[in-house]
């Protein structure tokens, strides 16, 4: 009987592996943030892509179930005395199936956009604004890694 149960479990697992919609799915995302950057003092008041990325990480914590993600990298900026023009979150996601995985991707995408929006709101800039001719807002971009 025990052997039969194990055999059935094996067959189920093989079937699940051949059917992506029901398979556990994992993958990585690269979440980029782009802002204008500038001198830390001379351009003070501009948005920071790194600050936006950090805000997004906190939103990811709130939006995604524990164990469904792992942040493997958070980086950005080029020097201590510059407002960061770039930010990057690298994240690995694990879901029970493809649909759940896409839900995680959507949640990360929303968190990234909301993190950028929070940084823009804190510094009082909106899409279309310019600073010295360059886009004044921080923007987020999500793609598979």
């Amino acid at each position: 009987m025990k052997r039969l149960i194990l055999s059935l479990a094996f067959l189920v697992s093989v079937a699940a592996a051949a059917t992506p919609a029901f398979a556990q799915q994992s993958g990585g995302l690269r979440v980029d943030f782009q802002g204008p950057g500038g001198h830390s003092s001379g351009a003070y008041g501009r948005v920071s892509a790194l600050h936006a990325a950090a805000r997004a990480v906190i939103l990811i914590q709130k939006a995604l179930p524990a164990g469904s993600y792992q942040i493997t990298n958070l980086t950005g900026g080029n020097s201590v005395n510059s407002i960061a023009s770039d930010g990057l979150i690298e994240i690995k996601l694990t879901a029970a199936n493809a649909a759940a995985y896409q839900a995680l991707v959507a949640a990360v995408t929303k968190a990234a956009a909301d993190g950028a929006a929070a940084e823009n709101a804190f510094r009082g800039v909106k899409p279309g604004d310019l600073t010295s001719g360059a886009p004044a807002t921080v923007r987020s971009f999500v793609k598979p890694s």
Binding site: S40, S48, A53, V57, N78, S132
Partner: protein, 540 residues
């Protein structure tokens, strides 16, 4: 705040500014050929990457040109390729060599029988501009390190991403010797304009290159001035050192100035081992107050992963928690009317890559910058931000029920601490300010001896806090520019005549302080005594 210019300084300014030797130098620099040579030199130097504390490539090229092209003998080059200045007591700063590039215009003073020195060092005047730039972040490990100089018509919008910048098709070309190729792109980039409106209307281009605004045009022209002084045999009384300095940007911690002034960050004292009597910076206009700053690099270290793939506190998320808290800080000047302008940013963050086969980042580090012209407000922002490092770690530990400070929790480590002491000039009656103001009055740039109340965070923090009088000029001429410290830093060429006028002023001011052998055989005496100030005796 007004300064009171002593009559001898006013007389010296008039004498020097109108001296035939100075006039000959300026006439020489006013030709089209000289303007072109200055422009080409700038383009050729600015493309050499020079991250803070990795300025060796640019310093080496300046050293090479000083001897091979600018007319100096090796003995007049005061800095070595390995970063050593033999008479300094501070040749290693923050554990690294210092890649300044300095040349001396020899004065007559040391030949006098009654010459006074400080431990073998005769008096000197320093004229300096920094050679480091915030982009790129580090020297490339392989391949041609040179920066591509991109050209974009004004009709197109300023680039929004590094990818857009890289995709611009037009760029300047350089030959194998690093000389700019004078092709059609060069001709376009070399057009001179009065301002951005003029450039936009008449075919100007944005010239994208890190350092265009901060501050290679001015530093490059300092060496043009040095070579011109040598060529025209301009003879000061005290020595004049002209330096391209290292470590002004990023984590440079003012390393170049600390070497020159023997400044000990921990003690907050400078030994002034080379015996400078006055300092002239080339990064701004008339600044005499200097912002203080605190800078921290904090590392968030993750606990060793438990077996079986169990999750635990994450270094990236702990750091994110800290940065997110800092991101919501309002500074004193944002909270209270009348408070000194105070700023901060988390300028850089990075994480150690997970070891092969793992997904846990062992550690992450952030770098934060805080600035204010007054110690009180600088301390206020520090006292607000500094606890947020631990708050981030604690929040991440709490998510997993881990105790702060335990081996199973995120731990914090201070990796680097930077300090630029604030300096507020309570009295502006000193020789550098007098010479700086009077040179401007003499040449019609200023109408009164007034010093502005503004502050900058500049190399001058070090001499100012060592007791050395200092004043700021610029030798650059740009029609327009923006994007300083960002990937889209750009400028457009301004009038060469402005550069020559600014050289006239800097030369006049430096010679007022150093003293000057005039063409008529008379000597304008130095405006200050031969012993520079210091806040610590030199260890030599």
């Amino acid at each position: 705040m007004p300064a009171t210019i002593p009559p001898p300084v006013a007389a010296a300014a008039e004498k020097i500014a109108n001296d035939p030797q100075i006039a000959a130098l300026l006439k020489d620099q006013s030709t089209d050929a000289a303007a072109k040579a200055r422009w080409n030199q700038f383009l050729e130097l600015v493309r050499i990457p020079s991250p803070s504390r990795q300025e060796n490539l640019k310093a080496a090229e300046i050293h090479r040109r000083l001897v091979a092209e600018w007319g100096f003998s090796p003995s007049e080059v005061m800095t070595r390729a390995d970063g050593v200045i033999e008479a300094s007591d501070t040749n290693i700063v923050d554990g690294l060599p210092v890649y300044n590039a300095c040349v001396v215009i020899k004065g007559s003073y040391s030949g006098r029988a009654d010459a006074v020195n400080y431990k073998g060092q005769f008096p000197k005047v320093l004229v300096e501009g920094h050679i480091d730039v915030v982009n790129p972040e580090e020297l490339p490990k392989t391949g041609d390190p040179s920066i591509r100089i991109k050209l974009q018509p004004y009709a197109q919008p300023v680039v929004a991403t590094p990818e857009e910048l890289a995709a611009i098709p037009d760029e300047l070309s350089f030959d194998a010797r690093g000389r700019v190729v004078e092709n059609d792109k060069y001709a376009t980039a070399s057009k001179v304009f009065a301002n951005a409106k003029d450039a936009e209307a008449n075919g100007g281009v944005r010239i994208y290159v890190p350092g265009y605004g901060d501050m290679m045009p001015s530093t490059s022209n300092a060496f043009v001035l040095a070579a011109a002084m040598k060529k025209h045999n301009i003879k000061p009384v005290y020595d004049i050192w002209i330096c391209g300095t290292a470590g002004e940007e990023g984590k440079g911690n003012l390393a170049g100035m600390k070497q020159l002034y023997g400044f000990d960050q921990k003690a907050g004292t400078g030994s002034n081992p080379l015996n400078f009597v006055a300092n002239f910076g080339l990064e701004g206009g008339g600044t005499v107050n200097f912002l203080g700053s605190y800078r921290f690099e904090m590392k968030f270290k993750a606990p060793l992963p438990r077996g079986g793939g169990a999750t635990g506190p994450s270094a990236p998320e702990a750091m994110a928690a800290a940065i997110a808290r800092i991101s919501d800080v309002k500074t004193p000047s944002e909270l209270r009317d009348g408070a000194p302008r105070t700023t901060y940013t988390v300028g850089r963050a990075s994480c150690e890559p997970p070891p092969a086969g793992r997904t846990v980042a062992p550690s992450c580090s952030l770098e934060v910058d805080m600035r204010s012209p007054r110690k009180e407000t600088l301390d206020e922002i520090r006292n607000n931000i500094e606890p947020m490092f631990q708050a981030g770690a604690s929040a991440e530990n709490a998510r997993y029920g881990r105790k702060d400070g335990s081996p199973e929790g995120i731990t914090l480590e201070l990796m680097w601490y930077g300090l630029r002491p604030a300096f507020v000039a309570d009295n502006v009656d000193n020789v550098a300010v007098h010479a700086g103001l009077q040179s401007g009055i003499q040449l019609g740039v200023l109408t009164s001896p007034m010093v502005g109340a503004g502050s900058g965070s500049l190399n001058d923090n070090v001499p100012a806090n060592t007791g050395i009088p200092t004043y700021q000029f610029t030798l650059a001429s740009s029609a327009a520019g923006a994007g300083g410290h960002a990937f889209w830093e750009w400028g457009t060429r301004g009038a060469p005549a402005t550069e020559v006028a600014r050289m006239h002023r800097v030369l006049t001011a430096a010679l007022i302080v150093s003293g000057f052998h005039a063409a008529d055989g008379t000597v304008v005496p130095p405006a200050v005594g031969p012993l520079g100030k210091r806040t610590r005796e030199v260890a030599r």
